[in-house]
Symmetry: C2
Subunit: 409 residues, 2 copies
């Protein structure tokens, strides 16, 4: 008996399930593993033996997951400590894996999850245990190094650009001066906010000002930017990253009352848009300002996901399955851009040690001299990643999504 | 020379342009009016002679408006006073209309705009002026009486239900208890929030609790509802109307800091979801609560509008044009539901005096006994209105929307 297991970790995306189904369906084709297990709620669930056999589930449900957003296998934010710090956990985990005759563990996640893959792979090698650990990338933040981009980013980018576009029209209806401020996720990096540059109306950018964490935020400069733009036109659309901060490193989101920290000690950001709205109104620059935090909407909007992103997420999973047969444990899959026009990409393997705990920032060269927008390079980089409308199924006028009954509680 | 003019007023919707194009294209077919003018920024713009001839514009742009959200002709929030109060304005307006040989004025809007149609029509009759005033309905709030529903509602409902559905999946990924609260528009009525009942996952409702302005809000009852539901399941999705208020009539949105009043003296609502989030966390019922105000997103999400809604908005416009030939001034178009399965509707004419300044509330019989959700009747009512995916054009991975160059500034 030769089995494998797949699990998902970290914040969900629209296409994280496509990667899981890529793994599952590639095995249906190759028949390399006897069973494809799923660990529910990541490593945390596996430690509780919360494991199901995907091959035994209703086929339609499993296939429906490909076009269902959010971690269909559940997720966790569980940072595995070093072996020295939590010996018992390692022993228990490997007992469970060996009991289920698991030869390969696929973990779909971001930086933190790749750190887990790295640690477990090292442990297995040091203890001569014949189990491979393979990482599959996932994050809307697009902040993993080495690879061109991450599955999940394109769909979030497409939603952000679409909402920016539609709301620039909404903001245009009255003659009174007004501002629409939209806050995107992305933690310490500006990839998501920058992606709003894709939105154009009659060939002109729909977004007027973009502020990213890669450039220190200067309140006076910001107010001046807004004031100047409002002289040119009646309506402004401003897009900001949740992670923008001052030169002293103070997050604007922390200046709002609702801030906190998550389990990994990452600051829980948000509320930046409201802070900026108040700055504008309190300084008498514009009375009518709407502030919208896109929140979780941007990471689960499968109804308008990028088909390119869905396809690449699926391919990353399928490639991971194939790679696991001869490939080396401790590696993860990345995506390489071969050419831009027509767009072509391919998956490749890279060691998790090169990716884990490292952040890929938005390139400073792609930010304009004023530090309040992005350049043509950002547009050209992002455009191919958002292409294609999702081939989702509909039921009663809404997308037909799947929730695995095994997860009910 | 026999011309007509069309203008838009009040808050935009995804399909308000479809009504304008319905008027324009029906005239292209019937050739009844020589010119179809558009008044930019509603009655306010017409008073400034901000008028363009739609027949002279680029045909592709005009047709592209049908699938472009938000008031493509601009809008205003201008409440026309009585003749006694603003004689000069009436005289000036009619001078402009007569100068342009306008025989029919089509005004697309909600309650306030229908009041304008009513006043102008009366003035024309009293002064034996041969100009007809015809209203075309528009409001996402769905609060116009007499008619079954209003163009704009179905598309907003579809977006709200989709976002509720996707975020119920997003909220399900972790094992920790968590709550997603979403705030819909709708002013004093609960139609929009109630429409989230359409969202289902594996046949079960995706939304757990729905609070509407039609039922007085009781803080203790609310906290009890949430506490009880959290005993049954780990994740909750709650949808609330911006207009919910206590038995004493205090808007919850006013308890937040950002409240204000618009020009008509309507309270500017919002921030209800943050208020409820704080209620839940401060009372120790759940630590992890996300609050999202859908804000303007729900009224311009053409990328996932209801094709049924687009078609009905277009038909309302086309019918208004036809009706104007023999019909009576001071009337407006409504939509009558003929049957539900298969769904069939038809436009009809009704006098604006029956509609203006009157609000159609969400039926209390469609609210459950606990006052925290809606019944099967609400589901059956809403479902046909959200059906069909929009036939929009795409360009560079995003919907191809049109912004009239004539409105640039």
């Amino acid at each position: 008996m030769r089995n494998c297991i797949v699990a998902q970790s970290g914040g969900p995306t629209s296409v994280i399930n496509a990667s899981a189904i890529g793994i599952f369906e590639k095995n249906e084709e190759l028949k390399y593993y006897d069973k494809v297990f799923a660990g529910l709620n990541g490593i945390e669930g596996i430690l509780k033996e919360n494991i199901i056999n995907l091959c035994e589930l209703d086929k339609e449900s499993v296939h429906g997951l490909k076009y269902t957003p959010s971690s269909g296998l559940g997720s966790c934010r569980y940072k595995l400590k070093s072996y020295e710090q939590s010996k018992e956990e390692y022993i228990k985990l490997f007992e469970i894996l060996e009991k289920n005759q698991i030869k390969t563990f696929f973990y779909i996640g971001g930086n933190d999850s790749m750190d887990t893959v790295h640690k477990l792979s090292n442990y297995a090698k040091e203890h001569s245990i014949d189990i491979k650990f393979i990482g599959v990338p996932k994050t809307i933040d697009n902040d993993l190094p080495i690879m061109d981009h991450t599955p999940g980013f394109g769909s979030a980018a497409k939603f952000i650009a679409t909402i920016a576009l539609e709301n620039s029209l909404d903001a245009s209806v009255y003659e009174t001066k007004n501002i629409f401020i939209m806050e995107a996720m992305g933690r310490d990096t500006g990839w998501l906010a920058a992606s709003s540059c894709i939105a154009t109306l009659n060939g002109e950018p729909a977004v007027d000002l973009i502020y990213l964490p890669e450039i220190p935020f200067d309140t006076n400069k910001f107010l001046k930017d807004v004031e100047n733009k409002l002289k040119e036109k009646n309506r402004l659309v401003i897009v900001v990253s949740e992670g923008i901060r001052t030169a002293e490193g103070v997050f604007l989101g922390e200046m709002q009352s609702n801030a906190g920290y998550d389990k990994f000690g990452h600051a829980q950001l948000g509320g930046v848009c409201v802070y900026l709205k108040n700055l504008i109104t309190e300084n008498g620059i514009c009375k009518k300002v709407r502030a919208v935090e896109l929140s979780t909407l941007q990471r689960c909007a499968m109804h308008f996901a990028s088909q390119t992103d869905i396809d690449e997420a699926y391919e990353s999973g399928a490639f991971a399955l194939e790679y696991s047969i001869e490939g080396e444990s401790g590696n993860m899959i990345g995506i390489r851009r071969i050419q831009n026009n027509p767009y072509k990409s391919e998956p490749f393997a890279v060691h998790t040690s090169k990716v884990a705990n490292t952040i890929k920032y938005f390139p400073k060269e792609w930010i304009n001299a004023e530090g309040n927008n992005v350049t043509k390079e950002a547009y050209d980089y992002t455009l191919p990643l958002i292409m294609g409308e999702p081939k989702i199924k509909y039921e009663n006028g809404l997308p037909k999504y799947v929730f695995l009954n095994e997860r009910k509680k």
